[in-house]
Every structure is written in C-alpha cells, then in structure tokens.
C-alpha cells in the first residue's frame, strides 16, 4: 500500500467518535476539490497554521449574502481549493427533514460542490462546504428549484432558528417553529440583502430551558413562559416519589425561589406560585406530574452576542410577557421598529446590544415605546449618574 499523504489526519480516523476525516476521505474519492481540502488540512496539521486567505466577497444574483468567499493561500499546492466558498442554506425550521429532501440536497451538492457539508452550522444553516465561484449561481438555481433558499451572512438578519417546540415537546409555551418560520418568511429581504450595521440573530425557544440557546446566541430572543398556577397532579407526584425521585432533595430544595414545599408525610406538593420565577426545574423533574400555568406567551429579550468587541452579552428582558398568536403582528412590528432604530443609530459593526449600552437603555425604551419594568433589571442602578429628561427639569430660574 502506498504511503498515506495524510499521516496526521489518519490518526483522527481512529477512536470511537465518528470521524470527520472519514467523511472527508469519502468525498475526496469523488471530488478533487475535497481531496485538495484534505491535503491542505494535512499541511495545516503539520504547520499548525491555517491556509485560507481572508475572505472575499462573492455571491449569487439578487442577494447580498448567503455565501462565504474563501481562497487558499497555497493555490499552487492545492488548486482544487483555490476558490472554496461555502453556501449557507436556510434549514427547514426545527431541522426536520424527509429523506427525500435530504437526498435532493446531496445530489445538488455532489453536482456543484465538494460533497462536504456541515449539518448544521452554528447559526443553524445547512453549510455546503466549498465550491468554486463559477458554480455558485447554478447551485443556487438548483437549490431554489428544489425549494431551498439561502440563509443569512454579513450585516444582515441571520437565519432564525427555533427549538423543536410543539413538534415534540410538552413544554412549548409558544409555537416556536411557526413563529420562527413566520419571521423567516416575513423578513426575507432583511435576510438576503445586507442592510444593517452588523449581523442580527433571532432565536425562539418554547420555554426557559432554552434549547436553542437564544439568550446567549441571538440579538433577539423569544422565550416561552406562562402566567397562572403550575398545575399539579398530586397522584403523579406520588408516583415519581414512589419510583425513587427524592422530591425534597431533587425538586423542592433546588427550586431557586424556595417557593415549593413537599409534605413528606402527606406526600403532597405545594407551590407558592406568586414567588415562582418559572425556571422550569420542577417541571423538568416531573413532566408527568406538573404542567405549566394556562396563560401562555413569551418573554422577549434583546442583545445576546459573543465577545467581540465590547465583551459578550446575554440577552436582557425588554418585554416580560407578550401573547404570541399568528400572525404575530405585534411581535414583528416590534422587531421592525428595533431594526429601524438600530439601523438609524448603530455604528458600523455595532450589534444592537452594544448600541443600547452606548446610548443607554432609557433611550432605547423611550424610542421604541416600551414601558420600563423592574423585570428588565437584576437590580436598579448603584451609581448616582442618573440622567433626567429635559422635560423633567423645571425651567431654570436665571
């Protein structure tokens, strides 16, 4: 057998976890592009440095984004990846697929690209990993014919995503999938034609467990919640207790507000609902016994993002509760208003959370027309550097 061209990467074919090297080799057998990707990666492994140039701008007709341009810095050695752009394809909401649709995608990508993908990208897109400039448009055309469209990139709305929600989860307080899909469809223009100061991400989770990490990873987070009493089925609580759940230690003691009491003798659970902050823990522990309160809606939060530039931000509450029912007009109006405001005041490469920090939450709330609420803060300010609006100050006596 000939000596391997990729001795370092070969090491990563070993072991129990599925190997991406195996996948790369599979593709390399059919695609010279993939083969050169493998070889260039081997060089990176040897030299401990990347071999891609700073991205260039490429795209498809009518769109300002959806493609990440990429060029090898050693096209001499790896001509197959001289251009090697990725296409971001908007995933079906909830990442549901029929095999038919998946196979179609594969066929298109075998035709136009490297045969390599990310299922999925970190924002949620189907990442078609690497093709040359001349294939971009035809690949897009084929995707479009098959019912697929590109996702977001650049200073645009990014592909929104949602937790599996009502499709397979008893805890969805909102129709996370439908909200996400509706927003995606309503904001196609914002998704495809970069027009903002920077990127804008929206994620929708059906409850406070936040299975799409919306609070950490989106500029606008929509998270289901409820009002009213947690519905307790005492029989089922008893069944959990009987089957070995230590209700005191595992449920009530871990309730962050200590608003639950478990009567060990009577085997009854009581909740002081007014003190509950709807953290989900008790419900997570006993899904069969506890159901959320009956009035459902969402908490809306703003500003989540990674650290660049001013430090990472988690999203912060701006609407404690909004009912969300189709066509979600109030929600979409609010998002549009925020996008407009950000567009008007944001500097280049300033995420909406950073803009709010720069101009002050009070300015944001006033401009958007939201009423300040204590739920927006962990605690009121500790510094005395309070601004008053001019209209609050009595006309000055000279």
């Amino acid at each position: 057998m000939a000596e391997s061209e990729t001795p370092l990467l070969d090491e990563l074919e070993k072991g129990e976890w599925p190997s991406f090297v195996k996948d790369m080799k599979q593709a390399a057998e059919k695609k010279p592009m993939a083969k050169d990707l493998l070889r260039q990666l081997e060089l990176s492994y040897k030299e401990k440095i990347g071999h891609w140039k700073h991205g260039g701008i490429v795209g498809v007709k009518g769109y300002g984004g959806g493609v990440i341009g990429r060029y090898s810095d050693r096209p001499d050695l790896f001509p197959g990846v001289a251009h090697f752009h990725t296409m971001r394809v908007n995933h079906p909401t909830g990442w549901f697929y029929t095999t038919k649709a998946l196979r179609t995608l594969c066929d298109i990508w075998d035709k136009h690209g490297s045969g390599l993908t990310n299922m999925h990208g970190s924002t949620g897109d189907i990442i078609l990993l690497g093709t040359s400039t001349d294939h971009l448009q035809s690949c897009f055309d084929d995707l479009s014919d098959a019912g697929f469209d590109l996702g977001g990139s650049g200073s645009a709305l990014r592909t929104p995503s949602a937790c599996v929600g009502p499709a397979r989860c008893e805890w969805a307080c909102i129709d996370s999938l439908n909200i996400c899909y509706d927003i995606t469809m309503s904001f196609q223009d914002q998704l495809h034609r970069p027009m903002f100061p920077y990127k804008f991400k929206i994620k929708v989770s059906g409850c406070a467990n936040d299975c799409v990490a919306s609070i950490a990873r989106s500029d606008f987070s929509i998270i289901g919640t409820w009002k009213g009493k947690i519905q307790i089925d005492q029989k089922e609580v008893q069944a959990y207790a009987a089957s070995g759940l230590d209700v005191q230690a595992e449920v009530t003691d871990l309730c962050p507000t200590k608003c639950m009491t478990w009567d060990e003798k009577a085997k009854t659970l009581a909740i002081e609902d007014a003190d509950c902050t709807r953290c989900m823990h008790c419900i997570n522990m006993m899904p069969k016994a506890l159901r959320q309160g009956k009035e459902k809606g969402a908490t809306l939060l703003i500003g989540g993002k990674a650290p660049i530039v001013q430090g990472a931000l988690l999203s912060t509450v701006i609407v404690p509760f909004m009912k969300l029912e189709p066509p979600y007009q109030e929600l979409k109006d609010l998002i549009l208003k925020i996008l407009d405001w950000w567009d008007e005041h944001g500097k280049m490469r300033e995420r909406v959370g950073e803009l709010i920090n720069r101009v002050g939450m009070r300015t944001f709330l006033k401009d958007i027309g939201l009423k300040p609420a204590p739920q927006m803060v962990k605690n009121p300010r500790t510094n005395p550097y309070v601004f008053f609006w001019p209209e609050e100050i009595k006309k000055e006596v000279k």
Partner: protein
C-alpha cells in the same frame, strides 16, 4: 432565472404524521435509555426518538447512509438537533431495537440525552476559516474519542455542554458552556505596511480594537500597534486582512468552565477562564483532551445530582475548584477588561482552598 426569497421549505411538510397529529399536544416524555426518548401525546399516541452522534462535518455519502437508515425504520423522517445530533423519529416500537442495533453496528454513537456529555458544538477551524487559532473538528474528535462513554450513558451529575470555537469570534458560542475550548492567538498582529493602505480602511481598523491599541501612522499610511495594549483578539484582522496574527508556536487553546444557557434553577451564566493556554498539538491535542477530561471527571466525582458545572463551582467556590482540579491559578485568570471590577472579591468571605 431561479426564484429568490422563497425561504426555507415549510417545516410542516417534513414532520412525520404522528407529530402533525400531536403538534402542540404532547403530554409528557421519558428517557427510556441513553439516546432513546419517548414522547406521549394527550391521546396516548407515542413517538420514539433515537438520537445518534454526528461529526457535523459530513459527506453527502454519509448523509445518504443516514437517509437509508431513516427510510428503513422511520418512514423517511428524521431531524437534527440544535447541537448537531441526528434524531430518528419513529412510532413503531418494534423497530427501536433493530434501529439502535444497526446504528451501533455502523459505529454511530447512540446517546446524547439526559445527564450526559452531548455533542460538541463547534466551528470551522483550519477546514474553512481565515482566523482560527486552532482546528475545530480535530480537537472535537480527539476529545469525544476520550469522552464517548459519557455520551452514551447518563452518569453525569447533570447535562454537560461542551463547545469549541477556534478564535475569539466564538462562532461556537463557547461563552456559555459547561466546558469551553477556545482557540487563542498570543502574538500581536504584524501589519503588512505594503498592503494596509490598499486593502484596509484605516478609521475602521483603528475603531475595531477593543483596547485602543491601534494608531494610524500617517507616514506609512498604515497603522502601528501598541504591543502592550494588544491582547491578540484578532478583531482588527477581521476588518483588515493585512494584519495577520496567526503563529504556529504561540497559537493554542484556552479552557473555560461553568457557563450555562438554560434558566433552570440558576440564571444563564458565562463560562469562566480555567486554563489560559495549552499548546496546539495536532493531530490529537493530548493536553487539551487531558484538561477537559480532568475537569469533567472532577466535576462528576464531586457535584451533586442536577448540579450543572457552574452551579457546582458556585457552591464549592472557585478556590476549591482550582484545588480539586489541580489547575494553577494565575494573574491571567483575573479580569483586566472593563468588566474587571465586577469580578473582584469584594468580601472577606472565601475558603482557604
């Protein structure tokens, strides 16, 4: 010309009939065994989900293999999770065992549910990005090879979310993970003065620096960087390609711990620095693998049930965390960014270790 702005396919068309019927009407679920969920609808209908690991970087052949399996057991329905696992969706109880058997025979790890280490959210690395300080898929593979048994069991105190990002842009959103693996540069960008004037907008470049380390240099029409102020974040490189900062010897990996996203029990938390630097050591990053394993197993040994990494550390204290893991505490652990004062210990309450 192809139609634009058609948006993604409607998810409704991709959901199996049992979901269509029980949409929004699920009543409860059980985790029957690692990797196997049962969801029961109000009418009593049952949906089974078998979850399997994935390398995320997948060939079309691999995807077709998954399709084949889904066709054989799931009427062609499947989904991916928000952490890139594959979920096979089925209603026919009798097909569960054969499906799992086939997955295992094809080397798919089955698991990723409940109190486990699920798939590592990660990024491009040397495979497809221009700013990485390390590879993504490689370290992930190496770490998961070591931790795979924790994927297919549920023996952890609570959920453990590991993530990797290959540079400070943090596409892997490692900033809120139980354990985060983060590629870091450690050398100051070296301006290519011949290219800066042509390819970079100077004011944007200057403004991009979080610490104000960049000054325009009218003489060269380029920029100068104050070495003392630069902490190698690479943000200037993002806006100005003529400021490369990758370096084979000094790029590497840092390890962060104790972040979380869910609001369950405790509020979401950022990850905190555990190990400032480990060398890039391809192909198997042994230092990184060992560091992650050490933290994970120390946590597994000491944490209480349902306690996430960060909740555990908050209970035992950071001084105890460093003692138990044997990780050295250095001046680099102490924040010196604008957020620093908030992180200082402004109380005499502490443990000796």
């Amino acid at each position: 010309m192809a139609k634009t702005d058609i948006g993604p396919p409607n998810y409704k068309n991709f959901m199996p009939p049992v979901i269509q019927k029980n949409y929004g009407k699920w009543q409860y679920h059980e985790i029957l065994q690692p990797g196997l969920l049962k969801h029961v609808g109000e009418t009593g209908e049952e949906l089974y989900t078998v979850r399997a690991g994935s390398p995320r970087l997948m060939s079309t052949d691999h995807i077709r293999e998954i399709c084949e399996i889904a066709e054989k057991y799931c009427d062609g329905y499947l989904r991916f999770t928000s952490r890139h696992n594959i979920e096979f969706l089925l209603t026919d109880k009798s097909k569960i065992e054969p499906l799992i058997a086939e997955l295992k025979s094809k080397k798919y790890p089955v698991g990723g549910t409940g109190h486990c280490v699920t798939n590592i959210v990660h990024t491009q690395g040397w495979v497809h990005c221009h700013t990485p300080a390390t590879d993504a898929s490689g370290p992930v593979k190496a770490v998961m090879d070591e931790l795979h048994e924790y994927f297919s069991t549920m023996t952890m105190p609570s959920q453990v979310r590991i993530a990797l990002a290959c540079c400070l842009n943090m596409c892997g959103a490692v900033h809120c993970s139980d354990i985060a693996i983060l590629g870091i540069h450690r050398t100051v960008p070296k301006p290519d003065h011949s290219r800066v004037p042509n390819v970079c907008e100077i004011p944007t470049t200057v403004a991009s620096c979080p610490t104000g380390a960049i000054r325009p240099d009218p003489k060269t029409k380029s920029v100068t960087i104050n070495e003392e102020k630069c902490m190698y974040c690479g943000n200037c490189y993002t806006v100005c390609p003529a400021l490369p900062l990758a370096d084979p010897e000094n790029d590497g990996i840092s390890i962060w711990v104790g972040g979380k996203v869910s609001n369950a029990r405790s509020a979401p938390m950022f990850s905190k620095l555990a190990i400032p630097f480990l060398p890039n050591n391809p192909p198997r990053w042994p230092e990184t693998v060992a560091a992650v394993k050490n933290i994970l197993e120390t946590y597994a040994k000491h944490a209480r049930k349902h306690e996430r990494m960060g909740e555990w550390i908050n209970r035992i204290s950071w001084e105890r965390f460093f003692r138990l893991t044997g990780i050295e505490f250095t001046d680099k652990h102490i924040d010196d960014f604008t957020t620093a004062p908030e992180t200082y210990r402004t109380t005499t309450q502490f443990k000796w270790g």
